[in-house]
């Protein structure tokens, strides 16, 4: 295929989105570990917060990240006219 300016712009937007979401993924996966003890002094829904983040918080944030990615990419596909045709 030949690459148009539109394709390039689409790919750039895609990369920006992917990298921002991965930054968030990195933040929730690897940073709370350093502050777990301090976070445990805060109570959230009856949980020590540090414990909650590991037990339930991170999987929920992961779901949110994928959800945002799916919606944003569908919009990008449409906006740049690179989405798939209905079959």
């Amino acid at each position: 295929m030949t690459l148009t300016a539109r394709h390039r712009a689409y790919w750039r937007r895609n990369l920006t989105l992917t990298l921002s979401l991965l930054a968030l993924w990195f933040l929730v996966s690897f940073v709370p570990g350093y502050y777990a003890t301090a976070l445990n002094d805060i109570v959230f829904l009856g949980f020590p917060l540090g414990f909650y983040v590991f037990a339930q918080g991170t999987p929920l944030v992961y779901l949110l990240i994928i959800g945002v990615y799916v919606l944003a990419m569908n919009r990008l596909d449409k906006h740049y006219g690179v989405g798939e045709h209905r079959r």
Binding site: Y34, F44, L45, F47, A55, P59, L60, E84
Partner: protein, 595 residues
């Protein structure tokens, strides 16, 4: 009705269900055999992926790991869910657009090299076989414990069943049986959890019950922490691993998850690129239902075990060290007798008082040892295996027999669904990548399909043999499978999509270095076929990273070597660069095809 008969009936019914589904969804073409015809709805695929992914280890062992490691055990929980973010945003949509049948096929085409394809097949076979051996063992163990048959009989029954639907149905057959297996395993996991959460905290939702309060109004987690700490254990809500090691293990599990071939191919089965993205999200939804329940199961099962052997563990509290608090061995409940026979529960009356003292005798703080001595305790008398936390959970809580039987069916479903997925990628790698791709390019579709079925049949036999006669490393397979996937396949696929200029020399040398380094490091400390060359302790580890986490270093080496080598060798041809551009754009995706 007695427990054994009921278990036979419920497990038997689940088998009838799987066989029925497999007959209904048998494969007629290579497209159906490898990628279920490419028309699987994203939600259905998400559910099948969840069953494919959640193995005997997730079902049986994870809650126990968390129960005893506190949230140090939740690196597994995070590592195994965070991988889906990587899959969804980095791999699944692009590989779906590529639209072929197998992972080695992508690597071979993208790097215009049969050598690359063969190296990928080697990685895939090694990862998948180590993993599947553990699954078959799991099937055998669940059978022998609940149905009281010997491990061999259990193993052969499991092999027969997987043989039937993986060989007959191919990807199409296993997709729909995996959906049925997901339903069985998720009910088996959550129903006991709901009952127990109700009993202890009055809240039917285990996820919320974990943060709820016990009868006296005290927060449950606080109560549990107090009890286990008083008995010398670390608090349930604390962790004891080094930061760098947690980081490395979490990363290796995540990238390993994203690089596991049997998980990746599930995303080849959906109709569109769009569906591949959302399907990863659905998979995580279905996985999270079990994974967020696990910490609650772990915590409540642990509380129940303590409450069983120490009568002072009640909502209102009491003296844990009083003589009368410890349970008389003669008065132990039925479930303890049953699990003692399996060896997962052991009692040794060290102080000869006929009572069970269950505490952490490794705790050497002065105050604690003084209290234990004053109470006349001469060491911990009860050894509890991690796996009991899920398997015996309903019995400990005194739930009805049908719930216990359901847990058996759930454990078997978890192991079978993963085993089938693994066997299928092995057979596809052999019939499609090696046979059609390398040795017999002109083979007809019919012969290829037959070869795929034969390869699946042989793979079932080998898996069964490995499960029956584990080569002594089943316990280490997690480190191996994830570390190798993380260090070999994941970075190579990633570079293939996000770098247009990565060439075959770079990719092949990267894969080999990543694989070789990770394999060598694990061998060095764990010694699979040889005796370990160094003691597996933190002081000996490179950068303080344990063999479970070394895949992260392997992945970094893979990328660095690939980049350096690709700079020094012939550039990637233009038509391949165009192919990469095409992969990056959803438009024009067709059904998965072989050419």
């Amino acid at each position: 009705m007695d427990l054994k008969l009921l278990t036979y009936i419920i497990v038997g019914l689940s088998f009838v269900l799987y066989i029925g589904v497999a007959i209904w969804a048998r494969a007629a073409s290579t497209g159906e055999f490898y990628v279920a015809g490419g028309g699987v709805h994203p939600v259905v695929n998400g559910m099948a992926t969840a069953a494919d992914w959640m193995s005997a280890a997730s079902f049986i062992s994870m809650a126990g790991l968390i129960a005893f490691l506190g949230y140090g055990g939740s690196v597994y929980l995070m590592g195994w869910t965070g991988g889906y973010v990587l899959l969804a945003v980095l791999l699944a949509p692009y590989l779906r657009k590529f639209g072929k049948f197998t992972v080695p096929e992508f690597i071979g085409d993208r790097y215009y090299s049969r050598t690359a394809r063969i190296v990928a097949v080697v990685c895939l076979i090694f990862i998948s076989f180590t993993y599947v051996a553990g699954q078959m063992r799991g099937v055998g163990i669940v059978f022998s414990r609940f149905l009281e048959v010997d491990i061999t009989t259990g193993l052969i029954t499991g092999m027969g069943l997987v043989f039937f639907y993986a060989v007959l149905g191919g990807m199409k057959g296993i997709t729909y049986t995996q959906v049925a297996q997901y339903v069985v395993l998720i009910f088996a996991y959550t129903i006991p959890a709901v009952f127990i959460a109700l009993q202890i905290t009055g809240n039917p939702l285990p996820q919320l019950g974990l943060g709820g309060t016990v009868e006296s109004g005290e927060p449950f987690l606080h109560k549990l922490d107090t009890v286990v700490q008083e008995l010398g254990f670390a608090a349930y809500t604390s962790s004891s691993m080094s930061t760098i090691n947690i980081f490395a293990i979490t990363f290796a599990l995540m990238a390993g998850t994203a690089g596991l071939p049997h998980v990746i191919v599930r995303f080849f089965t959906v109709p569109k690129v769009k569906d591949a993205r959302s399907s990863a999200g659905w998979a995580l939804v279905f996985i999270a239902i079990l994974y967020t329940t696990a910490p609650a199961v772990g915590a409540m099962a642990r509380y129940n075990v303590h409450a069983t052997v120490n009568s002072a563990v009640t909502a209102s509290g009491g003296d844990l060290f009083a003589t009368d608090s410890a349970l008389l061995y003669e008065a132990r409940p039925e479930w303890m007798r049953r699990w003692e026979q399996t060896g997962l529960l052991k009692f040794e009356d060290k102080n000869g008082d006929g009572r069970i003292q269950y505490y952490n005798d490794k705790n050497t703080s002065a105050g604690f040892t003084a209290r234990a001595e004053a109470a006349g305790w001469k060491g911990n008398e009860l050894t509890v295996d991690n796996d009991i936390m899920v398997l015996a959970n309903p019995e400990v809580a005194g739930l009805p027999n049908w719930v216990i039987a359901l847990v058996a069916a759930g454990g078997i479903a978890a192991a079978l669904s993963t085993a089938a997925g693994l066997l299928l990628v092995i057979s596809a790698a052999i019939s499609h990548d090696l046979l059609k791709g390398v040795f017999m390019p002109h083979i007809s579709e019919k012969s290829e399909l037959l070869a795929g079925r034969l390869a699946a049949a042989v793979a079932v036999m080998i898996a069964g043999y490995l499960g029956y006669n584990p080569p002594g490393f089943v316990a280490q397979v997690v480190a191996f499978a994830f570390g190798l996937a993380c260090a070999s396949l994941f970075p190579t696929i990633l570079l293939g999509i996000f770098s247009k200029t990565m060439n075959k020399e770079g990719a092949i040398s990267g894969m080999l270095v990543g694989l070789g380094f990770t394999f060598g490091y694990i061998l060095y400390f764990k010694g699979i076929f040889i005796t370990p060359m160094a003691e597996n302790i933190p002081a000996n580890w490179l950068f303080g990273i344990s063999p479970e986490g070394i895949g992260m270093v392997g992945a970094i080496l893979n990328v660095v070597v690939a980049l350096v080598v690709s700079k020094l060798t012939a550039p990637c041809p233009d038509h391949i660069q165009h192919m990469v551009e095409d992969i990056r754009t959803p438009r024009g995706s067709g059904l998965a095809h072989s050419h």
